[in-house]
Each structure stands twice: as structure tokens, then as C-alpha cells.
């Protein structure tokens, strides 16, 4: 990779093309609007003239003699019968017309003013700040346009207006491009700086086209369809139009046709010239293809997401990558990724043949014969590359021959096999865990699959998400990825120094089902469940008084713990009604035996898993990965054999509770009415810092939120732990008690920006209420539950509140995305030096000690450098009682 740089770009200058220059660079004067003759040979002096290059193999360019691959293409030109305005310069033409004298062509400023402006321009010249120069130019132009009487020839200039897109009028009279051009020709070179033009490379009259450049044919190639039909490029179509009208215009002019006809044709030529440059000019109907599709002309080629810049120049595509839909697979390790056979056969790794692998590679080449027909996946070879870098595709026919011929030092492009290291990525890549290294596991079907514990860092779900996969090509890249990017190396988040991966949803539910109240599991069932994980020793078998054998849930869970786990922590369960003596909420693990407590979100969940965190720190990433894999498998077993389901009847509450809930709603409404009454009678005084109205509002809000809390309380009283939804909420698997209360009890106040709903019609939110009604119902309080359904007014309020949430997320993502982009651009090349200081590319110090404390958060304990408790407990065991006990 050490190609010599032959030429460097020092500066780029923008200038106008003069008619002479256009003629000079032209290889041919195009006069016929036709392209090819009946034999398909380019017509001379036509739009496909061979002098402008060739796109057909076999034909040679008339200008340079090159063939398709060597000829760079050459411009041609069209001589316009009458000048037309270049649509890209209308603004400039307009301001120059108004700043200069129509009679003598001087800028309408006196000598002094000119001198002053020139001095200012000279002063900033060295600084190269274009913005300032533009400011001075527009200032000069606006000053000049305010002066109507020319200071030099005392001609009285009239105001010129621009009628979009291309018509200029001088007090109503239309100015033809020809007249404008004649005026511009009179402008002195000396005055040009003040008009924003550089003398020598730009003249104002060049903004009016008299000669039209015709781009080389390879810019607008003819496409030949399978049917043999030829189809011209949009630009060629447009040029045909221009030439046709130009010809008619010339004929009519030369014959001395009526002015009206000439003007019409001239206008038409202007239209074609305009749409040739920009087919989306405001005020100009876009030129259409026969089919009705609007033409893609010059500006359309460059502009926007699909334009040359964003799509072709900034957008890069990579090889050795694949993209498909993702789906979950609990039997894969967190470190693995399931790759469909179809993709694995397409993706390759380049390997050099050595004496150590030659036999294996020979076998792989032979695998290529009828590879798709073998029942199991065997990696084959797609290409063999000889020493002279000659690539040979391996086919069914030549595979055996190539395998025999294989020599040391050759290279082969081998298909993906189990254990290959690949990068796996989901967009948007918001943090470094969005791209991690996985080991390949080739699987049937068509989706990428992975362990659901890695959903969190990728922020992925399986409602149709797609992900990208990149195959690493060099040994160094593979080593680096394995050390730095592997999933298990990213368990601890650099954001908060805790585990970012862990059990989610059903896995938490399953662990909870298994360990809550130490569930007894019949022996047979337990064996099935345990068959999901690899354990060396079965948990002890117990017998009940009827002689039935069973396992204990906590003992099954203990089977997947590493040796020597000693930890005590609080679980998520913290509820006296379901856990009166507090043993479920207090997790105690001694010598890797779960003695008390239910395993829930606080033990193994993402971001919170205390037990998970402990295992990562004490046993390292590899053991933690094994533990997570086991949790996943065990969870799959538990939930399949014990069974778990939820439905709408989970939110059923007894009639008695329903009555209570209704009463809570009504009571709240009554209390609000009472408050309003008091307010009207003047019994409420303002709270400090609030108006009387605000005080009333806050009192009402307090009352209404109290009502929701009360309903939540009633609902939870009737929904016990035997209820599936409650199990999920309490264990932290999904949802929370508020969601349940809203389904069973009262939905509560719908708010806009933290306030009760108040906008809509004058004085009221909806036409269902009286003006000035401040009551609970009139301001968005919903007493229905999701289960029984909402009343019409409630439904509208709910929709309003929901919409606010949607808008907020939309606004938030775009805003925070931009903020992050700016931060990344500002910080991208800072690094931590060997002295642990933060330095920039010039080695200037930004921070003497990284983070002021020198701690890498992803190797810290929740941001702290050392977990003293952990160290003491590990060292002294039971002798150290801990701070809390």
C-alpha cells in the first residue's frame, strides 16, 4: 500500500466557463438532434458523435483514438441561435443588473465608495474568509442598487425586477437575455471585485449562455435493453430538445418570422435549457419522460440522498459482509452467532496453504463438489489463487483436479466454518457494544441467530430487525477482535461499570418460577429440565411423605453456579404480602448453594444483575459467559416444562374490588368538584410562588394522583403472586404494577407537558363539556380501565397523551443524535496516553489523569476503582461480617 502520489491538490478555484473556452474544449459542434443511424452507428455531428468518446466496445474515439476503457470522453458544443439565461445564476444576474448602470456599465457607486470597498476587500483577502467577502459584496450591491442615477453618466436607471424563474422586467418591459448580455458586456473589469467576480476568470455576460456545452457520451451512456431496444439517457433526451428548438429558432430568425413566433421559441429554448440544469426549478413544470416519469437532469444527479455525493462519494460498500433478519436461539452461546448456510457459502476467509493445512484445504476443495447436496454443512472453497495471483473459481468439474494441483504458498478463499471470528453489528451503532465479535455457528434456514442476552447491547428485538455481519480477513484482525471485541469482553459497560448483558423477559420469569418459594419439581420433570444444561452432578433428590421423588428449584439453580460463590444481596421482591418473613427478597448463596431468596432481575437481569456482576468479577468473562449460557438454557427448560402463560383474565378482579375501584374514581371526581367549589367561593389561598389558579391545579393533580395510587393499591391487593402478570412484574421480567393497575383499575390522569389537558376549543378541551369546566372529567381524568374500555371523551384524551409521547421520542432521538455527533466530532482523536493522561493529536494535554481519577469505568466497580466490601469478604469470609449486618 505505498503507491506514489503523482500529483497533489493545492487549491481549487471556481470560475465561469466562457463561450470561447466551451468552444475550445469542444471536440465537435453538434448540429443534428439525432443519435444513431439505422445500423446503430453514431451519426456524425449528432449527439453521439464519436468525437465525444465511445461507449461501444469495438469503436474508437475520433478525438483521442482510445477505446471504451481508455477514452476519458470529450465535450462537444451547441451554438445557440439566441442567448438564454443559466438558471444557476439568476440571483447573481438580478443583483448585478440592479447594481450597475444600464447605459455605461459602471457600478452605481461613486469613486470614494468604490475605493473604500476595495480597501475592505484587500484587508480580508489574506484571511481567506469567504463569508466576509460575500458580506461586503452584498453590502456594496445593495448600496449601489439604492442609487438610481449613475454617478458617471447621469443616466437614470430604472428598477429591474426578477419574475421567477428567468424573466427580468424593467418597469414592466421584458428584458431579453440578449439585452442583459449586452449590458453586462459594458461592465468594467475593475468593478468586478465589488460584484463578487474575479476578473480574468469570470465575466458577468458568461452567465448568459450563447454556447451550450454538450457532455461526453460516457456521462450519458445509451442503455441497451435485453430486447435489443436502445434507450437514451435523460440528459441526451434534454439535449435533443435543446438542439431541435435551437434549430427552429435559428430558421425562424433567419427567415424574419414575426416577433411573436420568435419570442415563443426563445422562451421554449429557455425552458429546455433551464430544465437541462435543474428539473425541479420552482415555477417551472418539470420535463417529463414519455412514461410520465420526470427526467433526472444535472442537479438531480448530484442532489440529495440518492445523489452523487451522499450515495456514491460518501457512501462506501464493503465486501465480505452479509445482512439478514435476526431471530433468537437459546441454544447458542452468547459468544456465538448463527449464520445461515446460504450466507456461509458466500462469505469467505482467505487462507494461505502451508504444510500444516494443505491436507485439510485439499479436502475442502473436494467438498466443493455438489456441496449443497450433502446433508451436513462442510465448508468448501470458492476460489484458488495461484502464486501469480491468478484466481480460479472452484467448480464441480475442476475441484478434484485443483485439489491435486494445490501447492504450498497458494491461497484459497474458503467458506465460513464453525468457530470463525466475525463482527456482528446492528444500526444505529450508538455505542461500542453495537459491534461485537462472535464465533460463527453455521445453521440451516435464512436468519442470523443469537442468544437473547445480547439483545440489550445491540438494542435488538425480533420484530423484523436486520443485522450486518463482517468476516475478518487477516490474522491480526481476528486476534484483535477476539481480545477486544468479543461479546464476553464487553459484559461490563463502560457507561456505568456494571453488566450490560444478562437475562431478560422469560429468562427472568423462568429463574423466578424455579427459585421462588423453593418450588418442588417432580424428579422426572427435573431431569428433563436439567438435560438442557451440562452439569456434572445432579442436585440431591428428596422424597415427600407420599414417597414421591422431587428436586428443589433452588438446588437446580445452584447446579449452574461456579464453585465457591458466597454472596448475600437483596432481590427485587420487597413485598410483605407475598413474602412475610422476607426470605424471598434476601438472596443468600453459600458455597454455591442458593439457601434463600428468589432469583430475579436483581440477580441475573441486564444492568442490575448483582450475582452476574459478582461472577464476572470473581471468575472472569469466560466463566460468566458459561453462566449466562447456562441460565439461558436452564430458563428454556424450566419455562417449557413448568409452563407459563398470561391472558386478559389475569386482570380480572372480583366484583367487590370493582365496586371499590369505581368508588375511588367517583370519590376523586367529587373531591375535585369540592376543590373547585372552594376555589370559586374564594376559600383557597395561593401557595407561595403560585397564582391562585396554579394552586388549584396542583391541589387537583395531587388529589387525582392519589386516586390512581389508591386504585393501584386495591388492584395489587386482589392480584396475588399466583397471577402470571404479577409474577412478571414482581420479578422484573416485564411490566410493573402500575401497568397492571391501569389494566384492572383506573388509567388515571392524561397529561400534556406534566399538566392536566387544557387545550382544544375556547375554554374547554372537547365540545362535550361546558366552557370553563375545570372538573376531573373535563380535563383528561380517565376513570375507566384498559380492560373495560374507555369512554369516548376518555379515548380522545388518551390519544392526545399518547401522541405527546410519540412526538417526544421523535424529537429526542433526532436532537440527541445531533448532540452526540457533535461530541464525537470534537472528541474523536483524543486518546489516553501511556501516562494515563488524555492528549490530542499534538500531544497537548487535555486532562492530566483520565477521568480525573484514572479509572476505566468498564473495569471499575460501578464507577469506583475498588470494591472494598468484595475484597474483604473474599479474604476473610465469614469472619468479615460486612458493614450492613
Amino acid at each position: 500500500m505505498s503507491a506514489e502520489i503523482s500529483k497533489g491538490i493545492k487549491e481549487i478555484k471556481f470560475a465561469l466557463l466562457s463561450p470561447d473556452e466551451i468552444r475550445k474544449m469542444s471536440a465537435v459542434k453538434v448540429i443534428t438532434p439525432d443519435t444513431y443511424d439505422d445500423d446503430g452507428y453514431p451519426i456524425e455531428k449528432g449527439l453521439m458523435d464519436l468525437a465525444m468518446g465511445t461507449i461501444e466496445p469495438g469503436l474508437k474515439c475520433k478525438t483521442c483514438g482510445g477505446k471504451v476503457d481508455t477514452c476519458p470522453g470529450h465535450f462537444g458544443h451547441i451554438e445557440l441561435a439566441l442567448p438564454v439565461i443559466h438558471i444557476g445564476f439568476t440571483k447573481e444576474i438580478y443583483s448585478i443588473l440592479n447594481a450597475t448602470c444600464a447605459n455605461c456599465g459602471r457600478i452605481r457607486l461613486n469613486e470614494e465608495a468604490i475605493k473604500e470597498y476595495k480597501e475592505r476587500i484587500n484587508a480580508i483577502k489574506s484571511k481567506l474568509v469567504d463569508v466576509e467577502y460575500d458580506d461586503i459584496v452584498s453590502e456594496a450591491e445593495s448600496e449601489a442598487s439604492d442609487i438610481s442615477i449613475c454617478p458617471y453618466c447621469h443616466f437614470e436607471n430604472r428598477k429591474i425586477t426578477l419574475e421567477k424563474p428567468t424573466t427580468f422586467r424593467e418597469e414592466g418591459r421584458k428584458l431579453t437575455p440578449k439585452e442583459i448580455r449586452e449590458r453586462f458586456e459594458k461592465i468594467l473589469d475593475d468593478d468586478l471585485v465589488l460584484l463578487g467576480l474575479e476578473p480574468g476568470v469570470a465575466r458577468p455576460e458568461w452567465m448568459i449562455l450563447t454556447v451550450f456545452p454538450v457532455p461526453p457520451v460516457n456521462v450519458r451512456p445509451t442503455i441497451t435493453l435485453e430486447t435489443g431496444e436502445r434507450s437514451e439517457d435523460d440528459l441526451t433526451h434534454k439535449l435533443v430538445d435543446i438542439i431541435r428548438i435551437n434549430q427552429r429558432l435559428r430558421e425562424n430568425r433567419d427567415q424574419g418570422s414575426p416577433q411573436l413566433i420568435i419570442e415563443d421559441l426563445w422562451e421554449l429554448l429557455q425552458y429546455h435549457a433551464t430544465t437541462y440544469f435543474d428539473n425541479q426549478t420552482p415555477g417551472v413544470p418539470p420535463a417529463k419522460h414519455r412514461s410520465g416519469r420526470s427526467l433526472k437532469t444535472l442537479v438531480q444527479r448530484l442532489k440529495g440522498k440518492e445523489g452523487r455525493f451522499r450515495s456514491n462519494l460518501s457512501g462506501k460498500r464493503v465486501n465480505f459482509s452479509a445482512r439478514t433478519v435476526i431471530s433468537p436461539e437459546p441454544f447458542l452461546s452468547v459468544n456465538q452467532v448463527g449464520v445461515p448456510i446460504k450466507a456461509a457459502r458466500e462469505l469467505t476467509v482467505t487462507e494461505t496453504v502451508t504444510e500444516h493445512n494443505i491436507e485439510k484445504i485439499k479436502e475442502m476443495i473436494r467438498n466443493s463438489v455438489n456441496a449443497d447436496e450433502s446433508s451436513e454443512y462442510r465448508p468448501a472453497v470458492n476460489y484458488v489463487i495461484k502464486e501469480d495471483n491468478k484466481r480460479m473459481k472452484v467448480t464441480d468439474k475442476n475441484a478434484n483436479e485443483l485439489a491435486d494441483k494445490l501447492q504450498l504458498g497458494w491461497k484459497v478463499e474458503r467458506q465460513l466454518q464453525d468457530g470463525d471470528i466475525v463482527l456482528f453489528n446492528r444500526q444505529p451503532s450508538l455505542h461500542r457494544m453495537s459491534m461485537m465479535a462472535h464465533e460463527v455457528k453455521v445453521l440451516p434456514y435464512r436468519t442470523f441467530r443469537f442468544n437473547v442476552a445480547v439483545c440489550t447491547p445491540y438494542n435488538a428485538d425480533f420484530d423484523g430487525d436486520e443485522m450486518n455481519l463482517h468476516v475478518l480477513q487477516s490474522q491480526e484482525a481476528r486476534a484483535e477482535a477476539e481480545i477486544l471485541m468479543k461479546v464476553q469482553e464487553n459484559f461490563l459497560s463502560p457507561r456505568f461499570g456494571g453488566p450490560i448483558m444478562g437475562a431478560i423477559h422469560d429468562h427472568i420469569t423462568a429463574m423466578f418460577l424455579l427459585t421462588f418459594r423453593n418450588r418442588k419439581i417432580p424428579k422426572e420433570l427435573g431431569i428433563h429440565i436439567l438435560s438442557y444444561v451440562n452439569v456434572d452432578k445432579l442436585p440431591p433428590v428428596h422424597k415427600d411423605d407420599k414417597g414421591r421423588e422431587y428436586f428443589l428449584g433452588r438446588e437446580i439453580f445452584s447446579a449452574i453456579l461456579p464453585e465457591g460463590v458466597n454472596i448475600t444481596f437483596k432481590g427485587k421482591i420487597n413485598d410483605k404480602t407475598i413474602d412475610p418473613d422476607g426470605t424471598e427478597g434476601l438472596v443468600i448463596i453459600k458455597d454455591s448453594k442458593l439457601i434463600s431468596g428468589a432469583i430475579d432481575e436483581n440477580a441475573v437481569g441486564t444492568m442490575k444483575g448483582i450475582l452476574l456482576d459478582y461472577i464476572i468479577r470473581k471468575y472472569g468473562n469466560a466463566r460468566a459467559a458459561k453462566f449466562l449460557d447456562d441460565v439461558t438454557r436452564l430458563a428454556a427448560g424450566v419455562i417449557s416444562y413448568i409452563g407459563f402463560s398470561t391472558g386478559i383474565d389475569d386482570e380480572d378482579v372480583p366484583l367487590q374490588a370493582k365496586a371499590q375501584l369505581r368508588e375511588v374514581g367517583l370519590e376523586a371526581v367529587r373531591r375535585v368538584e369540592k376543590l373547585i367549589e372552594n376555589y370559586k367561593e374564594g376559600l383557597i389561598g395561593p401557595e407561595p410562588g403560585k397564582t391562585l389558579e396554579d394552586t388549584l391545579e396542583s391541589l387537583i393533580m395531587k388529589e387525582l394522583s392519589k386516586a390512581r395510587e389508591k386504585s393501584s393499591e386495591i388492584a395489587s391487593n386482589y392480584l396475588g403472586i399466583e397471577n402470571s402478570t404479577v409474577k412478571m412484574a414482581k420479578s422484573g421480567a416485564r411490566a410493573n404494577m402500575t401497568n397492571l393497575a391501569q389494566m384492572a383499575g383506573i388509567i388515571g390522569q392524561q397529561s400534556i407537558r406534566g399538566k392536566r389537558q387544557h387545550r382544544g376549543y375556547t375554554g374547554r378541551t372537547l365540545s362535550h363539556f361546558k366552557k370553563g369546566d375545570l372538573g376531573a372529567y373535563a380535563r383528561g381524568f380517565v376513570t375507566s380501565s384498559y380492560k373495560e374500555g374507555l369512554k369516548p371523551t376518555e379515548y380522545f384524551f388518551h390519544a392526545v397523551g399518547g401522541r405527546e409521547g410519540l412526538v417526544d421520542t421523535a424529537v429526542r432521538t433526532s436532537r440527541s443524535g445531533y448532540m452526540q455527533r457533535r461530541l464525537i466530532n470534537a472528541l474523536e482523536d483524543l486518546k489516553v496516553s501511556e501516562e494515563r493522561s488524555v492528549v490530542d493529536t499534538e500531544e497537548s494535554i487535555i486532562q492530566l489523569v483520565y477521568g480525573e481519577d484514572g479509572v476505566d469505568p468498564s473495569r471499575s466497580f460501578g464507577g469506583k476503582s475498588v470494591d472494598v466490601e468484595f475484597v474483604l469478604k473474599e479474604k476473610f469470609g465469614d469472619k468479615y461480617g460486612g458493614e450492613k449486618q
Binding site: 500531544e843 494535554i845 464507577g863
Partner: protein, 85 residues
């Protein structure tokens, strides 16, 4: 309003001027060149106050700033080189 010593304000961390010997020692310890340090302008209000105490401070001198509000390490010390303007 009378002149107020902003260094006495609770939100302004303590600033000190290093002696020439201390400067040498510091640069030696950090193993860096003077120019690599973060900068502080001579026109900074704090420099004005320090000049009253130490006399004129020419560009190139080093100021020690002792912050005691670091959220990670509590006390955190930075050094800044005085630059012109």
C-alpha cells in the same frame, strides 16, 4: 461596587503561581514540554488578581489550579500555562 477578589468566591477554585523551580520539577515529573499544558489567558480575571499578589506574570509561567469538586476523585489539580492577550 468595590473591587472584589474573585478568588474568594466559593465557585472559583484556588489558583497559585508556580515558582520557576516548581515549574521545572513539574515538567520533569510529567515528562512533557511546557507547551503541551492547557492554556490560560493573561487577560483572565484570575491572572489579574494573582498579579496583585506576585507581581507581573509573563506568558509561559504556569498556574496551579486546585479544584475540590471533582465527582470522581474529590480533589483534582490542573496546571495551565499563561499565554498572551
Amino acid at each position: 461596587m468595590g473591587k472584589y477578589n474573585i478568588l474568594k468566591h466559593e465557585l472559583v477554585p484556588a489558583h497559585e503561581l508556580l515558582s520557576k523551580e516548581e515549574e521545572e520539577e513539574l515538567l520533569q515529573n510529567l515528562g512533557i514540554k511546557r507547551e503541551q499544558l492547557p492554556k490560560i489567558r493573561k487577560s483572565d480575571p484570575v491572572i489579574k488578581i494573582l498579579e496583585e499578589k506576585y507581581g507581573p506574570i509573563e506568558p509561559g509561567r504556569i498556574i496551579k489550579i486546585i479544584r475540590n469538586n471533582s465527582r470522581t476523585s474529590g480533589i483534582y489539580i490542573v496546571y495551565r500555562m499563561v499565554v498572551g492577550e
